[in-house]
């Protein structure tokens, strides 16, 4: 059973079509790039997958569960349980320190407080010594790593990363992708990276290309794909 299974997904914003995905699926444990220029509907698709934005048409199955058949609270619970998100703006909660940001993610996912899990996640991204730091005390690179740690601390099945490398130089772009892939492997999660950044093409083989103006999406599968 694929982790993500999308059928007949269409969405328009202010009458302008932005998404047209006849069919797309991602097997559990595979990683996939959502490639497309700005305005091609990458963020809309990520939000639709996460149960945050209802698409105009279509069906989204996440781990076999029809996301938009669920009530709002059910979608919230599913999101907390299955998905870890790395936002484009990273956005850590400024009122909380680094460790508390991770505890918050676990709490919102309905997981018990686990100091070792939080410390371990931060340790894996090289921030084991910054548990008590405030977000404003972190460099941009450190924030990025905390955001990745926050996304994986709930041991999700799916990690959604929205433009994680767009503002980074080549070296940091490669480092962040490495970190995302590494962390996805550690927790056995599927990584879905939405990006317009061509530098990511050769790092993840499976791709869903979203052309501009809502033209039908094209799927490219890399080596080792079962289908």
């Amino acid at each position: 059973m694929p982790l993500i299974d999308v059928t007949g997904l269409r969405h328009a914003i202010a009458g302008r079509p932005v998404l047209d995905i006849p069919h797309w699926s991602v097997e559990s444990g595979r990683h996939c790039l959502l490639l497309g220029p700005s305005g091609s509907g990458k963020t809309t698709l990520i939000h639709a997958l996460a149960g945050l934005k209802r698409p105009d048409q279509g069906r989204i199955l996440l781990d076999g569960q029809a996301v938009w058949d669920l009530a709002a609270a059910g979608r919230d619970a599913l999101r907390g349980r299955l998905i870890g998100i790395v936002f484009q703006t990273l956005h850590l909660v400024p009122a909380l320190d680094v460790a508390q940001n991770l505890h918050l993610a676990r709490w919102l996912a309905g997981l018990p407080r686990d100091t070792r899990a939080v410390a371990g996640a931060l340790d894996r991204v090289g921030l084991g010594n910054r548990l008590g730091a405030r977000p404003e005390q972190l460099s941009q690179g450190e924030k990025q790593r905390v955001a990745i740690a926050r996304a994986v601390v709930t041991a999700p099945k799916l990690i959604l990363a929205d433009e994680p490398t767009s503002a980074l130089d080549d070296e940091n772009c490669a480092r962040v992708l490495d970190l995302l892939l590494e962390q996805a492997e550690v927790c056995g999660a599927t990584l879905l990276v939405a990006t317009h950044d061509g530098r990511t093409r050769d790092r993840i083989a499976d791709r869903l290309e979203l052309p501009k103006l809502g033209a039908p999406a094209r799927t490219t599968l890399g080596e080792g794909h079962a289908a």
């Binding site: 919230d76 009122a95 919102l108 996912a109």
Partner: protein, 409 residues
Amino acid sequence: MNIPSLAWAYLRRSALTTCLNVALLALGTGTIVVLILVGTQLQDRLAKDAAGVDLVVGAKGSPLQLILSALYQIDIPTGNIPLAQAQALAADPLVAQAIPLALGDSFRGFRIVGTDPAFVALRQASVAAGRLWQAPMEATVGWQVAQRAGLKVGDRFNGNHGLSAGGAEHEGMPYTVVGILAPTGGVIDRLVLTPIDSVWAVHDAHHHHHDGDDHDEHAHETEAAQPPDREVTSVLLRYRSPIAAARLPRRINAESGMQAAAPAVEMTRLLSLVGVGTDTVRGFGLLLVASSALSIFVALYNATQARRYDLAVMRALGATRTRIACLLLTEALAMGATGTALGLALGHGAVEMAGRLVPQARDMGITGLQFPATEPYLLILAAALSVLAALVPAIHAYRADVSAVLSRG
């Protein structure tokens, strides 16, 4: 992590705003608490000092002045009435009890009251040391008089002319302290009680000594009385039956040269007059509480605007709408509860301090360690206002389009 700890983290982050809101609420609540405490205790005291007295009869004049001077000992009397008429009242079948009062002198500002021992029973006082007065020039003093003047049984003191401190001393006519009353928290604590004969005797002697002198008008309420035409200042009456309430005051006011005033009526009038002032201050207190609620609303509304991305991220991490709304309500409730608790402490503390440090408040037995039944309503009011203040921001957060907020960044 839980909602209270998250709310606390946010409140701590905007510490100055939080503190100002809490302080504003505390000031409003504190003001109302002071008014409730002082108002309640003042009314209790007034009721206690008027207990057992249905009617006060004295010289014509202001009925309120008559009540204040005879019952509460806080105003000058309206004049004197003939003893014979007072005795006739005592014999009236409509009257169950009549206690005469003769005023005119004081000791260190404490009024010397010539009266019957029945007055002590009326005030539900008891003797702490010594005994009640029996013979002329014997005095039984109230608890505060003994404490402040350092009087003990066997001491002698001279009275001063007039009802306030500073009058000429009646030399050669000393009173002997034969007893000290236990504290009651009532007006009797501040009185020097003696037989009416003592008052007459002192003023007869005074009249002989100062014949022809200019005298203070108010200090002569009993002085004009010359044997055999003795006078008293007022009489405290208790009705024999309810029907007396309808007949006796009207008859006295219409058919005699005296005035009858009912404490219940006059005190209601007084409280309604004083009430205008307390209502104004209470209104001010409520205004402060409402302002703080408005301030909490503005703070939370601004916070939800400033934190809309925070809240959207939380939603994206799995927070339900209800949990986000609860977070804002918890913040408001925390501010409301802290402000109210501080206000209660502030109000009680201020009244207790006043009760200890301000002589007038101390005399009245004002204390901050009393907890009126209306106080829980204040807590409910503050909580309700806090929730109300958080309602609009909470609904905003509840309805927020998370996807749109996250897309805008």
